[in-house]
């Protein structure tokens, strides 16, 4: 049930074909499964292992290295509060304290209704607009306690549904390479010789 659905299998095959070696598609496919299920399930990892032709252990081995992959049910909205230096200098600790009170949970946990997961996060590349947070990896800048409350209220009421898709969805659009325009991925060992535009002198050297 939590294997990739047919539509996502088709998408997965398209993504795999972009890489000279199948395993390179592993991380994008784990994202795809997280988008489908909200978190990364064992069944999905087994399925991805079949698709990229590695063992399930290899999929878990790679996936467990990365911060964004979650292996247990996660709130529809994952709120990441930056606490690295620039945000810390601008009051991140107080904002986190406020967030815990507003949501009624400690950082690292999920609200009982399954709507919000709150967690500590590291630098979000928005250091001039501190303190920052991300909801499902979408930035909010110079956040005040009042604005945090408003954000939670807007998310709860569904007001931000168009702007912020549920946890797991990386982008509202994704790259699609038209078949007639694609150069195509060739396994590295099957490439013989320089690409066409490289002049003969260099290719021969």
């Amino acid at each position: 049930m939590t294997r990739l659905n047919d539509q996502n299998v088709a998408l997965a095959r398209e993504i795999i074909a972009r890489y000279p070696k199948k395993k390179s598609a592993l991380i994008p496919l784990v994202h795809l499964s997280q988008e489908q299920n909200g978190y990364v399930t064992e069944e999905a990892m087994r399925h991805i292992a079949e698709l990229v032709e590695v063992t399930p252990a290899e999929v878990y081995g790679t996936a467990s290295f990365y911060e964004m992959f979650r292996f247990e049910p996660t709130g529809k909205y994952l709120i990441n509060m930056c606490g690295t230096m620039s945000c810390a200098l601008m009051g991140a600790a107080d904002l986190m304290h406020h967030a815990e009170h507003k949501l009624g949970i400690k950082a690292g946990s999920t609200t009982p209704d399954g709507l919000f997961t709150l967690q500590h996060a590291e630098c979000q590349a928005a250091c001039t607009e501190a303190p920052t947070l991300q909801v499902n990896y979408r930035h909010r800048y110079r956040v005040t306690p009042d604005e945090f409350d408003q954000l939670v209220d807007d998310l709860s009421s569904g007001k931000l549904e168009g702007e912020i898709p549920p946890h797991g969805t990386l982008g509202r659009n994704r790259q699609s390479i038209p078949a007639d325009k694609a150069v195509g991925a060739v396994p590295p060992d099957e490439v013989d010789g320089a690409p066409g535009w490289v002049t003969i002198t260099e290719a021969d050297a």
Partner: protein, 474 residues
Amino acid sequence: MSAQGTYDWAPGFYDDGDRPQIVTSRFGYEDSHTLDRYLATGGYEGLRKALDAKPEDVHTDVRNSTLLGRGGAGFPAGVKWGFTPQGVWPRYLVVNGDESEPGTYKDRLLMELDPHQLIEGCLIACYAAGLSRCFLYIRGEMALAHERVAQALDDAYDNGYVGKNILGTDFSVDIVLHWGAGAYVVGEETALIESLEGERGMPRLKPPYFPAAVGLYGKPTIVNNVETLANLPFIAKNGSAAYTAIGTETSPGTRMIAVSGHVKRPGVYEIVNGSTTFRDLIYGDHFAQGIRDGNDLKAFVPGGGSAPWFLPDQLDIPFEGKQAGQAGSMLGSGAVMVMDSTTDIPAAALTLVKFYAHESCGKCVPCREGGTWLYRILERIVAGDGTDADLETILQVGESICPGEMPHASSERLGIESHPFPYKMTTICFVGPSAYVPVHSAMTLFPEEFTSRVTKREVRTMIPVTAAPVGGGA
């Protein structure tokens, strides 16, 4: 409060002050990310010019521009391209869009606001260096950058700028947008390649030192930073002479710098490279405008969280690698973090030590164990539970990561001379040393904030363990 900056759609970016703009020239347009705007403002003209020339001539011109890599190490891009072994194919381009160095905020803006400029830069690099496939690795936590770059790539494919027979020539390259998944260490180029191969993002053992020789799938691979590539359309279109006319001989062109922390106007600025000083940046009217609330400057981090700290003594140093290095630090990824007189120095250092300890990939013992110990010890010092022995332990742990003298700034107040960058290291990559750098800087430049924070170990009270009074009782 919402984001600030000159434009609503460019959070934190300022372009007042009449500075030359090479990579941010379109940020003033609300539709800067679209193909229409790109084409209306000279977009893809650099590529057209490049395709009219021989690849090796384009490469030579980039080498002549002395464009320095913007990811942190500052290595000349044209020289790096030349490290690919002759006659070994295929060669790949991997774009490092994994921006996550504390304090650094520039590549995300370049991806969100001008994705076509980056795409054009990738194409020029591929053409010049004979790279036949490009992987654009974007940090997973940047949802908007993914959306904007994906859209731009779709439009570029549809209009013949990417893919088979680009602009009707025999130049054919795919650009594949790749999703990262959250790991700071992946910014190290061999870790980035591991991650792109579907592995845990751990840096590779060296040698081989350069992925240009042995990289993705064991093939020659150029790894370039987003900002580095974003400079190429300008160079290809206007020539290297126009590029070197800006900035200084050793540091030509411009750089994007984020100034954050306790300043009146934190922001991202495209600055003239090599000559702009830290004083300009922190106090200039068209930059950060001085310290907030009329406070004094206490210290600043000049080049991202990995860089040794500077004091007000170093304000007149320009953005030039050699001078910053002599003064005991580095320019890194173009990130200045400013601390005013109210800053709790050990606590500020703790935020960075925690970051690097958290981001250790676990491959090298000195980083995995040492970083974690530095974090734990510093945390208890900040909490008021540290002892004088802890201060010695920090130095011992640091010595095991970075043997020998550490780079540091000079201080007139303390009467100490600077020690130049870089340090020695026992780890494969810079994450390990980076956990020690902030606490070393803080302890060297503000020793009194540590000594006043700890108690003497020998005066600690002993913990009674007997249940009943010794020698009798009821």
